[in-house]
């Protein structure tokens, strides 16, 4: 599904050059759920941004679903993002003045899906994340966990190949975090490939594989026993 070879990325600020990614080799197969861990400055966000086509690598190759991702102009990148990827952000990034339903149907709007079909699909995904009753509410009327669930529904709406989650639980308390992870695990169970960037050990262990990044290199890459995120009754 994802094949990355010898990926390099540097940032230039004035005369200083910061070599963030120093040759990353990485593969992910369909249906995997991978945690990408590392301290801040390890390059994990940059890595995710390159995976998400929000940023481009200086060197190396990147294939997504056997499509080479390189020399992207804005237009192609936008189309690939829409087609292949779903994003989940730490700060949810919902459009504040649109209802939950409209937020979820937004990727479909950019795919040119007809309104009636769009609404139906968006409603389906809202039901999936358990927020069908909140469809007409604005993000400001939702709790953090609900917002993240709307964002997950939005990420799923375009039926992407890969879900990229950047610290999906970073802004949530433990209980809500577990609820969200439970939802993400459920989506993975249905076969979707998911990459989760996190620095929390417990969240990482809810994935099936953990990749450690340090100083722009992969420190280790191991398969783990997945911990199911069943919300403990006593929490």
């Amino acid at each position: 599904m994802i094949a990355i070879k010898d990926l390099h990325k540097s940032y230039h600020m004035g005369n200083n050059s910061l070599h963030v990614l120093k040759g990353i080799n990485f593969e992910a197969n369909e249906g995997e759920m991978i945690a990408i861990m590392g301290s801040s400055g390890s390059g994990k966000s940059t890595f995710l941004n390159i995976l998400g086509m929000l940023d481009e690598a200086d060197l190396g190759s990147y294939h997504l679903d056997n499509v080479p991702i390189k020399n992207l102009n804005e237009k192609v990148a936008a189309r690939y993002r829409n087609q292949f990827l779903g994003f989940i952000f730490q700060s949810f990034n919902l459009i504040t003045y649109k209802s939950a339903l409209d937020n979820v149907s937004m990727p479909l709007y950019y795919q040119g899906v007809k309104r009636s079909v769009r609404t139906e699909k968006a409603m389906h995904y809202l039901e999936k994340v358990g927020l069908a009753d909140w469809a007409t509410h604005l993000p400001s009327e939702l709790s953090g966990g609900q917002k993240q669930r709307v964002a997950i529904a939005r990420a799923l709406a375009s039926d992407p190949k890969v879900l990229l989650a950047d610290e999906p639980t970073g802004a949530l308390d433990t209980k809500t975090s577990y609820e969200v992870m439970e939802l993400i695990q459920g989506i993975n169970d249905e076969g979707k490939t998911i990459l989760v960037v996190t620095h929390e050990e417990d969240i990482a262990h809810m994935c099936k594989r953990i990749v450690h990044l340090k100083d722009g290199k992969i420190l280790d890459d191991k398969t783990v026993e997945q911990v199911r995120a069943k919300t403990p009754a006593h929490v």
């Binding site: 941004n49 998400g52 929000l54 940023d55 804005e74 237009k75 936008a78 189309r79 993002r81 829409n82 087609q83 994003f87 952000f89 700060s91 990034n93 919902l94 459009i95 504040t96 003045y97 649109k98 937004m106 990727p107 709007y109 950019y110 795919q111 309104r115 939005r154 375009s158």
Partner: protein, 414 residues
Amino acid sequence: MFNLERWEEIFETIRKNKLRTFLTGLSVASGIFILVILLGFNSGISNGVRAAFEEDATNRISIWTGVTSKEHKGLNPGRYVQLRNEDYQSLNQKYEEQIEYRTSLYSLWGGQVTYGKESGNYRIEGSDPDQQFIENETMVSGRFINKSDLDQVAKIAVIGNQIQLDLFKGEDAVGKQIKIFGINFLVVGVFSDPGGSREENRVFIPVTTAQGVFNAGDRLRSIAYTVQMSEDFDQAVALSTAMAESLESDLKARHSVAPDDRSAVRVFNTLEEAKKIYGLIDTIRAVFWFIGIGTIIAGVVGVSNIMLIVVKERTKEIGIRKAIGALPGSIIGMIMQEAIFITAIAGFIGLFAGVGLLELVAPYAETDFIKSPQVDFNTSITTVFVLIGAGALAGFIPARRAANIKPIEALRDE
């Protein structure tokens, strides 16, 4: 442009940002409002001045005389220069080619005119038949003075419409006898004048009769001509000016007046004056347009500015949209369409407010120099479309900036 979804998006953003939209629109609306008012008054001034000139033929040259102010050929200053029939005839002969209409005049500023028990004081003008065309008179009934009236020194009169109203109280004046200074005249015609009632308070009688009745002999008070008009306005002005100068120097030579004596022989060239005034109107119009365009530029800069703020404000939202697959084109389209839509609506509001105000105020703003101030609808529609184009231009820079937003940076922007 005709994408319904896009419109829904725009209406939604506008609904959620009412104040911002209102402020953006206000600058545009006031810009076009001011332009419309200025253009309206410009057309008012233009109409007013044109109407003032239309009272008489615009290609008229008037000649009258006064007292010499300079010593010349041994003659003392302070001498009155008297126009006579022979002056008129010799000028007629010399300028036969250039002259369109001609009249010699012997007029009195005021004279008692009586019909039955009604009487009033009116201007009495002894003139030639051509006076009808020089003064732009239209016959309401009857006829104007003719050649045989002149030859027979007929006691006939042509009266203004206002006099018919005043003295005849709605009766038809033609065929009735009136008394001027107690002398009977037969009314043969009634005229109306584009200058209105002021110009209709006049009685025309044959110049020969006037000279006889008022004991004037062969003396004249003034002479008026109109010049043959040519197709080209500037050429006509040049011809008319040349003739006016030539007339003036001929008369000065005939009456031994110093060539630089300005008070003894006066020749007024309407066409040249008209040209000056029209030139002035053009200047005023240019100034008004300049101000108007300036205001619109201010409006456009305002729109551009506010759209830039909008883009800044929506950086994150645009980043999100791009992250979930919005094409740069759709972002540009979204911002531009919003800018154009706001500009257009505000432009039309300003336009209708301006036109409405002019309609309301116009009846109270009538003076000698302002007449029916209103703005040519085509002009204003053109202006609105210019404004929309400008709105698109104003929207374009912010839209480019929006399209260039990198989602990764936008999403980091907290």
